[in-house]
Chain length 367, copies 3
């Protein structure tokens, strides 16, 4: 019952802060994407259902002059406490940010790795389906970062993070010849640019993840946007070179394989958004992912194993004036093409799926 009447520190009683500025500066948001899905495999109807595609509650804002807080938690993921950073897997974000001046930001806590790419940087509710690299990434990591903004057009970020939330053993069990590192870190550098009066923006980054001693993941992401009056075009190029397969796509394709070594994933991602009127947008997303197993010991190998396509045409309607809620009708198509080598060697089978959905997207401000 107590643990409450005491001052939390000895000489500095918590001075009652007027709540009015807090109320105005802090937001509680329900990030939602809800849809009725109709699913098809190779052209055959396979089923329908209502799905809570995204539901993440968020509290964020300025809690004190120059001090910011952000917390976001999902209700679509089992909340298991992670052994490395000791926080629930359902918790995306839990960090403090301090801005000593308008040119610098310092932050620490559970963060989103500041990978570039427009697809990754967008609010998850806005991405109908992620491309392979992002879909299979582990990007909510504990660490610290610093941002430098020389002027309004550029921002440079550096982050140091844990490279994962689970231990090496939990993730990979044991791999002969590979030793766990003592500090499995990730280092991320990022450039956000605003060029040509904001008509072009960039989010470029390079990251290195240490998975084990002498085992690294090098990840490059180059996101670019062209923003015109009634038209926006985004293009990302992403490349992940992985000594140990961290996405587990290639590993899962090879019978009996725990973690493949020497894997490359590459991705192109394009999205166009056409504003027909204040109320109606047409958007189209297309992407292609390539998966390679460079380290395959087979002398007759084809390094390339799969090409995976995605295409997402959508109509988006904003029924409320000046409020960020949209009703959408979309089609999410995927085409999976394995190379002849992958098909004969590992028994992998091509697939074509699509779903047609109608739904609602909103980062709903609830307080």
């Amino acid at each position: 019952q107590h643990q409450e009447s005491k001052k939390d520190t000895l000489y500095k009683p918590l001075i009652p802060i007027s709540k009015a500025p807090l109320l105005n500066n802090v937001d509680i948001i329900a990030n939602m994407r809800y849809a009725f899905r109709n699913e098809f495999d190779k052209g055959t109807y396979t089923g329908s259902r209502f799905v809570n595609e995204q539901f993440r509650l968020e509290i964020k804002g300025k809690v004190l002059d120059k001090l910011y807080f952000r917390f976001r938690d999902r209700y679509t993921r089992n909340p298991e406490t992670q052994s490395v950073d000791n926080l629930s897997r359902s918790t995306d974000l839990a960090y403090l940010r301090f801005d000593p001046s308008e040119h610098w930001k310092i932050y620490a806590g559970k963060l989103c790795a500041d990978w570039g790419g427009v697809e990754f940087d967008d609010n998850p509710i806005q991405i109908y389906e992620y491309s392979d690299i992002i879909e299979n990434s582990d990007n909510f990591l504990s660490g610290a970062g610093v941002g430098y903004l020389p002027n309004h057009n550029h921002e440079f970020t550096f982050q140091l993070l844990n490279s994962r939330t689970k231990t090496f053993k939990e993730l990979y069990d044991s791999i002969p010849g590979i030793n766990e590192s003592k500090f499995p870190f990730a280092a991320v550098i990022n450039w956000r640019g605003r060029l040509f009066d904001g008509k072009v923006t960039t989010i470029w980054s390079y990251s290195i993840f240490k998975e084990a001693t002498h085992q690294y993941m090098n990840y490059f992401a180059f996101g670019n946007s062209l923003i015109l009056r009634n038209f926006k075009l985004d293009y990302d190029f992403k490349l992940s070179l992985e000594n140990l397969d961290r996405k587990f796509l290639v590993s899962n394709w090879i019978p009996g394989m725990k973690a493949a070594q020497g894997v490359t994933y590459m991705s192109h991602w394009l999205r166009a958004d056409v504003r027909l009127s204040k109320i109606v947008h047409l958007t189209g997303t297309g992407f292609v992912d390539f998966a390679y197993w460079d380290g395959n010991p087979d002398p007759n190998k084809n390094k390339k194993l799969r090409t995976a396509w995605g295409y997402i045409p959508a109509i988006e309607v904003y029924p409320f004036d000046k409020y960020d809620l949209k009703v959408f009708l979309n089609m999410v198509g995927r085409i999976y093409r394995y190379t002849g080598y992958a098909q004969t060697k590992f028994g992998l089978v091509n697939d074509d799926t699509y779903r047609v959905s109608v739904g609602v997207i909103t980062p709903l401000l609830v307080l």
Copy 2:
């Protein structure tokens, strides 16, 4: 760290909404029922404990003109993400409602199936013990609905929902001769009436749940209330005809049975509430549930397997003027009577239990 500085949509920046109306229109509520229980079996004292009978945090309210939000999450149920609707099992409600006019409501998200019956429609903290049908129902389902209110005295609702949150395989494993349906839906129609100047109210509904191809659950619920100055009387009749046993009561009684076919549950429920003074109420609840296995292949069967009685006398005291918090003293008795056939054939044993509890109930407004 980012994913935040970006506008959430391209052309429509989220305009800062003044928080004062949000604060007044949105409520954060802790729905609590807490009790000290003393338990008895066949008249013998078996134990005592403090129990958090209900604890559900809720955020609800009008977030924008004509747009409503409701979210409710339990801390008394393990939060496992469900495979069909992708939301935590602990989350009761997560939906948006739009009222285009005072005559129409449209809503979508994770909902409560709009079954009739006063027992079911009440806030769960107010029901000391549910009757069999409701206790074993799966009623928080994802879907969409529409409400039509021709005038202040009548409301008609139609809902289309997923029929469950788990897959057929997770729920029933496999049953020979029965195939999973492609869209296991539930359709619900409901009438809420206000008659004789509000002295009589009704909540009647009919629902059909598709469990598998050609396998349905038909559920009827007729709730009725008589509301006088210092007296309220509620009566529900409920009937559930289930091709596949969805409540799993009958199935669990039969050794080795996964899911019984051809099951009927029927229930009468009665509650009286007498206001002795502004502070003290006496309430009494009585109910009886019948369970039948119509599809029993045994030629000598008795379709009826069990009659289960419930009786709950209670004294309720409201210590705070005009605030919805009550202290209660109640007795929750249950009488389970199996038919002779069920006793000899399946080895089922009659039981009589009751518990005497003192506790507190409140839908506590915390913000």
Copy 3:
């Protein structure tokens, strides 16, 4: 969709309460301790990582005249519903408190056992490492309590609680000759004193926990603080006499042992806090825990099995004027010394570990 339009009780509609007082009287707090840890074992560097050492969201405050609410939930612990009190293991607190006068408090719900001791009574974010007794205690329990404050200098508390959140069987499986009790309760009495014009404060308590019939835990804790202008000194003495090992330390040291009988834990804990300036504090914590197995059937036994030391020097910096956030640099050292008997008989091995961390502590007021 409904369950909402109904009034929650019959005759007492929930009167809309103006939100302004609620906003001022209710706080939402993110209790955080976040650190970058560098770990050493026997002087050898073993690894580094970022850790969310504490993250507990809290809602607390006065919801009505004389009525208080407190809820606190962790994101660093798996949320499993507990079988005895029916609430999630991640939920520390969920209770209501009613103060009939300035001299009396009554409260009920999931509580913190009001054990004395300064270490235990402090906000968990302030304790870098708990001593053995507290670290291995089960202290968030459901129950009820009453507090009596004859004047501003003294408070006396009595609590009656469940003695655990899991059943006897879940905790201990079965122990020959020991029977589960029908009401496994805990009773706690506590005195908080303020002496010599507040220069000395005390938190003393005695508790009895009934684990099974004739099996008790008797726990004594005597916390004392000396508070001067720029110096604070805290000293706790704690003693736990356990018929059945509830901390499971001794039990886990003995191969094949489920729950040792006749166990004693004793602890001394000392903390000094020196204020060098308004911004910088130096703190030092030292503690020692002794573990005894009095009930060891071995005639050649040494009752004492282990002495465990802890030492925690730290520098704490408060960068924000009048706001309770501190940056710390600390060293958390532990020395584990088993007796010769324990080493030879049970194969236990001495250990020395320490970690050097830099981090942030704050009970962050987010609304």
